[in-house]
Subunit: 191 residues, 2 copies
């Protein structure tokens, strides 16, 4: 998506070879027109897959995901991050290790909001090593539902996330695929 | 807003006399059509106020706020919740005490995203005692900007939030004003 790539090139901040900061339009300040365009593009891509629900993770996935859900005419569910696994039989929960924060948290979805016949489109701001995506896949598995595809705003294609997702049969569609980050240069896949 | 009141009456769960759970359409599962309608209504109400930015607080404010920002043609900024005040001169920060979680956290906005000439519309899912609103007001004051109004999805009008906001000159516009919660009954203001 050229609009997104242009935003990344003009506004993203390269923190190091693995970390890109997009606080000015996605992760802290949010450009709603861009989010709407992203939602429309994900919906266009997955409109024939019988999606019944969009799932994302709080916080930064919500803006692109809510526009995707609107376009597809389905509800959005955002997985919540908890401190640790708690005793609660109403919840699906999986532990996740965060490399950036160097600690474990749990990802939680209330059982009431995932059904065994749901076909899920997962939407998230970033795909890197695929930790978050695989954790959501596990929650969806618990429910007996199916993750049909993943709509990713920014993929770091030099990390293992896509391969891990595709191994389990999930179709990954990323709007910007970054193949390399260094010094003050961002390289996109295939360019 | 009748659509919202109907949702509340049919789907909200009364936890106790102070707590209403709206996890099925706002705080965990999200109804994107309702969020769009809410965004349009806030934009209609405040369209002549010269709003330059919509501000909300992560997480549940983001969905209604991003549609409001889209309709007004401005960016959205969401204040982040941090564990505690950190040493960082790039951030506006205020401490907030959470009564539900019984501990203090800090509310943070990067200085880059608030300008002294900004006219802010604050959007949030709930208004109760006004803690969060007053904290955001403080962040906006630090920036020398002005909070022009507050668009609230659900107001608990039996708590002090509205009075506190109006004392500081903020126009509060709530789409559902709940005057009483008891047993299995929800009473709306003026009905």
């Amino acid at each position: 998506m050229q609009l997104l790539k242009d935003k990344i090139l003009s506004q993203a901040e390269i923190v190091n070879a693995h970390v890109l900061k997009v606080d000015s339009f996605l992760n802290h300040q949010v450009d709603p027109k861009l989010m709407q365009a992203i939602g429309k593009e994900f919906a266009r891509k997955f409109k024939d897959k019988g999606i019944t629900k969009v799932v994302t993770i709080e916080t930064s996935g919500i803006a692109p995901a809510v526009f995707t859900a609107l376009e597809l005419g389905v509800d959005l569910v955002f997985a919540r991050k908890g401190k640790s696994i708690v005793l609660n039989s109403n919840l699906y929960q999986v532990p996740v290790f965060s490399y950036t924060k160097e600690k474990e948290y749990s990802l939680v979805i209330n059982k009431a909001f995932l059904n065994s016949d749901d076909k899920i489109l997962f939407v998230d701001d970033f795909l890197a090593n695929g930790q978050a995506l695989m954790a959501v896949q596990e929650l969806i598995d618990y429910a007996g539902a199916k993750m049909v595809g993943a709509g990713i705003v920014i993929e770091k294609s030099f990390e293992a996330g896509r391969a891990r997702a595709e191994e389990t049969g999930i179709e990954v569609y990323s709007l910007a695929r970054i193949s390399k980050l260094y010094a003050d240069t961002i390289e996109f896949e295939g360019e």
